[in-house]
Amino acid sequence: MQLILGVIALWLVLGIAGVFFPRNLLLVSRVLFPAGALGALLLAAAALDALGGEIQSRVLPLGLPDLPFHLRLDALSAFFLLLLGAVTAGISVFAAGYFRRGEGTPPGLQCLYYHLFIASMALVLLADDAYAFMVFWETMALSSYFLVTSDHAKAEIRRAGFLYLLIAHVGAIGILLCFGLLHGSGDYTFDNMRAVQLAPVAATVAFALALFGFGAKAGMLPLHVWLPEAHPAAPSPVSALMSAVMLKTAIYGLLRVLFDLLHTQVWWWGVVILVLGLATALYGVVFSAVQSDMKRLLAYSSIENIGFILVGIGLAVIFQSYGMRALAALALTAALYHAINHAYFKSLLFLATGSVLHATRERALGKLGGLIHRMPWVAWLALVGTLAIAGLPPLNGFVSEWLMLQAFLFTPNLPHPYLNMLIPVAAAAIALATALAGYVMVKFYGVVFLGQPREPSLASAHDAGTWERAGLVWLAAGCIALGIAPVAVIGVIDSVTGQLLGKTLGASATGWMFLTPIGPERASYAPLLFLLGILAVWLLTWLAVRRFYHGRVRRAPPWDCGFPAQTARMQDTAEGFGQPIRQVFEPFFRMQRELPTPFDAAPRYRVSVEDHLWYWLYLPLARVTNALTRVVTLLQRGRISVYLMYSFVTLLVLLLFVR
């Protein structure tokens, strides 16, 4: 606890130091950001140490009079702090090499917002009363808003920032009301909320408010619209932080309310989370398949992953409400495992897009290509992230998806006649989303790094600098380690599930090599053996190729399909690659296409894919709000007499009413 608070204080000091030297790039990038990364490492170490230990509480002498900030470090907080510290270390190192002079906000101010952002996230995870939680939650939203709009000269970025701020605040209202319900008649500490026994209706309303509020931050359907706008608008390290860590604080909040503050769980809450999670996952992945901007693609993929995590939480609630604690632990473990996995591979990929963006000044997939030759470091490290997010063994994405499917395989045992038939169907949807995620990643990696450069300017692209490489290596190593050593990771997660559900997975019972979540007769997975197998096959193939083919190589011009003048523009494009998905899932999109006539001398093909929800939900809402505000403006007459009349009439009505 001491060390964690120390690190948070260090971050604040670093941020404030940045204010005094806003344009001193050398200081900011060579001293402040690396120091922040070091702090993040320390934080991760302290959190790991606190995971097995006992719960520590502390009252900070800050805040309002008689209303100090309560902090508490338990297993749930420690797990998410570990995630925050471990991922932020990599992102901070990358950021040391990323921020440049003359790109929007000066580096010193970026440094302030950045460190304020991570410090407030850490404090959100530690908060132990509603007041402190909301203060840090809002600090987090505001500091990230300034980071998102760091390139505020562009109107579309300001618009994205506004949308983000709006939804963040609407969500915060939900959370605030939820705490208002939870605290009963006592004070606002979480200790009091744990003790309060709510009536079933009140508990359900509190749950709905929490799901709404935290769902807005996490990007749950239908509150996801800010995500694909804000993430591309932000600088890449910030996109990485937001996607990797900030979305997880929302998951943390949901878990905290659902399993810790509410004293009971109802099965249909789990069904609601499950259905929303599934919808979010499918929606996210289908949309990410048709994007042609690499950061938007990743943002939609974040939505998909959040949906996946929510599915795990929903399953855990269902199992827990029927008293099947071991299975609840399995589902929650899958969700938490995926949370930390997503933090690693998504930040890795976002940072890789940042390097590509700096090297080429291009974000549109249609203008990239063939970068593996120009940027081998970034390309190979991004490959690790791509394989991990696609869920291929032996990397980390596979483990959590496998655990999740294992959990789904037990749903037929549920003692409810409809659930035990319908939820297994949901497993099919999860499998579909996972497969589509693989498709998306093939598109992402193939279009950006493989093939021929689509623009001549790409020839001057340069590889990432040392700091950026170091950050990417750290995150890629994390992806591999999380994939190779699932038993150790689950040992860490066990203390969380133990605290929340009273039951752990106990996966380490059968040794460090084999991951057997339920029993050796059901299923087990040994990533190390898998890796060795892959290496052996690869080695054999390589040897065989060398031995049998390399002696007889004959060089000749390739068959040109009868058309010798091939250019880079003849490659499959991002749009072309996404076309089948666009066709199959057509009802999901609101598409506008302009097809050229065959006789057009300068043909132009244009397709725009938009979100139905935007037109069905958000624009009507905006119209209603506008109409209401017009009604309210009628009150404003500009005459003092009329205003006085308002208060006079109010006074009279109150006087009569009080009688």
């Binding site: 005459r639 006079f648 006074l651």
Partner: protein, 220 residues
Amino acid sequence: MHLPLASQIINLLAAVLLLLSFAMLTQRRILSLINLFALQGLTLTLSTLVVAFSTGQHHLYYSATLTFVLKVLILPWVLHRLIRRLNVKWDVETLINIPTTMLVGIVLVILAFNVALPISQLAGTITKSTLGIALACVLLAFLMMITRSKAVPQVIGFLAMENGLFFAATSATYGMPMVVEFGIALDVLVGMVILGVFFFQIRERFDSLDIRHLEKLKEE
């Protein structure tokens, strides 16, 4: 009906207060308005003194002194100076004509008495019957603020409203705690200073103190 002498005097003064409120409501000239305001303050001081004497509440002597200094001496003097410097001694036009205002005022008084009835039955003070009058004074002052279109009479209405509140406090509970009274007195003084500054600003901007010019500030 046998009432103690003190009570009779207080009732008389309350009646005077109400009469002055009506007089202010109908008065067109700013100069007379200020004089009426000062007179109202004097009446208030007298009634507070009588209450203090007859009940032996010592702190009411202080508030009587405060009222006298503030509302009979300082504020009228400030207002006099203000209208001399702003040069706005002439008639005030009202938004609604005077007889209508009077009729509305009478309705308000009836309303105030009815509203105050249950409260004054609860109060155990010798001044309890005057609570309705105090409330009526507040409402009448409010009405005056609404019906005037110039800034200075509105401010006088605001100050008169404070008079009514003060009277309500003395009649219902023998006055507020000293700290609160000091606070309110200071607020009134500070409010006066700020409004004085605003007067000059408004006049500089529009060459007039007619607040109807402020309607332009509305968002289109």
